[in-house]
Symmetry: C2
Subunit: 352 residues, 2 copies
DNA sequence: TTCGAAAATGTAATCGATTACACTAAAGTA
DNA sequence: TACTTTAGTGTAATCGATTACATTTTCGAA
């Protein structure tokens, strides 16, 4: 046994009076060992309770079987669920999932990536932080020949695969739904438009209005952050306008909730006077007394697909040639906050 | 440069025509190198952009700087938050956090632990699964000399540190609060009593009743799981009793919510006719139109403390001698579902 | 029986660092 | 001056596996 008390192939080789090379071959099912020796080695390995030292293997092969996941915050429902999906898909094939938080800060993001690269990770999954503009720290991943998969929040970098939902379609579906409810003055609470996801949702909103010949009113479009207060403030602002609104499509469930609270404080009837739709399908949206209509991003599925894309990518012979962009279908979960006429949940279409 | 294109100490030694031993010493601030050589090595290392290979180091030292966290589900708000706390405390000191899910299944738990041990983790944090009775797979961690820290859900094993909240106190506070609201027939929806946490909350409930001379009525105690439906079913059962209840203390926020929905369906007024208190302070409890009173387990803090206990433990000279049991104070967040008289949130006391 | 191919096994380098031990050179001491 | 001490550096083993290449054994064909 070794210093640390672990059984090594050397122990087996000593016991059987054969070389470590043969032991290694037997354990790895090489065809360059006799059946007799192989059986003997396997039997002895079991007896001694031999466990392959993954560190030695990693050093030799350069493969650690660890992958890193970089997200703004792990305890945000969406990210936690994506991570769950990744874990469930990769653990069965022998990977370990290392998680890192950026706190929506580029410097943290860069630091986390650097230390991940230094531990010789086999791949990185990430959702970029809101403050990320410069992408040198990200292309650095590719320079190290480490596969990178974006999920949800991505940057356009050639050669990098991504799994997202169709945010445009999500924004479109949500807005169209409101239009079909008879709404004509539909406000939009957008997120930070530097992030692609919020931009796309906004564009979906615009496109739906155009498609149904509803004039676009810039006063009805307000940029907010994902906080209750900012949804409430937005409503105050909207109610200072001369003409009343009859619907709100918010890119954030939190802002939607804040808006609802403010509407309720003003004794506005939901959904009769104003319909509200959020985005993300945060757990609380379905638990409310008046459940909130929202767009489900199917995060667990997103994580699983991301993991599959990763596995495909590393199994490809011609590396780095193909990038894969999977776009999942958003799912509109219609609930009481916007449901005047009792319609059911709608699913969008997948694009690959 | 090595095969994989990384700069090694060998590259530095070659360039400076000195031995790798000296390079290593210079990089590690050993006092067995001249200042001149040290400066030269550091300068060259920077020029070549040398990065220490953590795998080689890990193989040599047996320390990987990885720790494992084993939880039932990562995307459950409570666990996600604990993990966040652990990450925030350990990343700054150079650790990486590997996460594993058990899906509340002992076999998965055992398998996850085994693969973690095999990757030579420096420590394991875990919350045991509901189905865990046998603990051989857990003591196996100790046999491998790997530090183990329980959080929230623990088993009694000598030598194992733990960080929990005072569930008894939580149950007591919740019940006492209901009593002070004037409630006399207080039902309890308990969780699986095989789990210590639920048992303690239940005992806290019993003790509070005793302390205020309120008779215990076994009919008012119902074991449920953490699902909305089971809270609703429990209420149905309670309303089949001859005498009406005037409060519910649920060990689960989900069951509490289900109970509230059922009460509302029966047009029972909350909190006037029935007060409701949950447990865990799930995000949704505060977002409801009628926010739900709940016991906050301060999960992020719990993660941070667990990380600190781990760091203390590995820094101790005399290993394995002291176990540390930290018991955090629960915090009763009083909200409308139980607040007849507008009281404020109460904090419990910490025990160490 | 003998030779050659194929099968089985062994030797030793390698992955990239650390470190016990050996050695040289410079400085201090008598 | 001669001898001891110490600072600085080098050699080589080690962590535990894989594997290219070398060598030995086995077995069939002539």
């Amino acid at each position: 046994m070794s210093q640390k008390g672990n059984v090594t192939i050397y122990d087996i080789s000593k016991q059987l009076k054969i070389s470590t090379a043969t032991v290694s071959r037997a354990l790895n099912n090489s065809d360059r060992v006799s059946q007799k020796t192989r059986d003997l080695v396997l039997k002895t390995a079991k007896e001694l309770n031999y466990q392959q030292n993954s560190l030695a293997l990693a050093l030799k092969s350069g493969k650690t079987n660890n992958i890193g996941v970089v997200v703004p915050y792990i305890n945000h429902s969406f990210f936690a669920s994506v991570i769950r999906g990744i874990e469930e898909e990769l653990t069965p094939v022998g990977y370990h999932v290392i998680i890192c938080q950026t706190h929506e800060n580029v410097e943290n993001e860069a630091k986390q990536i650097q230390t991940l690269l230094n531990t010789h990770i086999d791949g990185i999954f990430m959702s970029v932080s809101k403050t990320t503009q410069d992408i040198d720290h990200i292309t650095n991943i590719l320079n190290n020949n480490v596969p990178l998969i974006f999920f949800d929040r991505k940057k356009e970098i050639t050669g990098v695969s991504s799994v997202t939902i169709d945010d445009f379609q999500g924004g479109f579906m949500a807005t169209e739904h409101l239009i079909k409810q008879g709404c004509k003055r539909i406000a939009h609470l957008s997120g930070d438009l530097n992030l692609d996801i919020y931009l796309k949702r906004y564009e979906g909103y615009l496109d739906a209005l155009k498609a149904y010949n509803i004039p676009i009113d810039r006063d009805l479009i307000i940029e907010v952050n994902s906080k209750l207060e900012s949804g409430a403030v937005a409503v105050q602002q909207l109610y200072n306008l001369p003409k009343k609104i009859d619907a709100i499509f918010s890119s954030s469930d939190y802002a939607a909730l804040g808006a609802i609270q403010e509407l309720r404080a003003r004794e506005v009837k939901i959904p009769d006077e104003v319909c509200v739709v959020g985005f993300s399908n945060e757990p609380f949206t379905q638990y409310m007394e008046m459940p909130i209509t929202s767009v489900n991003q199917t995060p667990v599925l997103m994580g699983k697909i991301a993991a599959q894309v990763f596995l495909e990518q590393i199994n490809e012979k011609k590396r780095m040639t193909v990038e894969k962009k999977v776009v999942l279908a958003p799912e509109l979960c219609i609930r009481n906050s916007s449901n005047k006429s009792k319609i059911e949940t709608k699913k969008g279409k997948v694009r690959i």
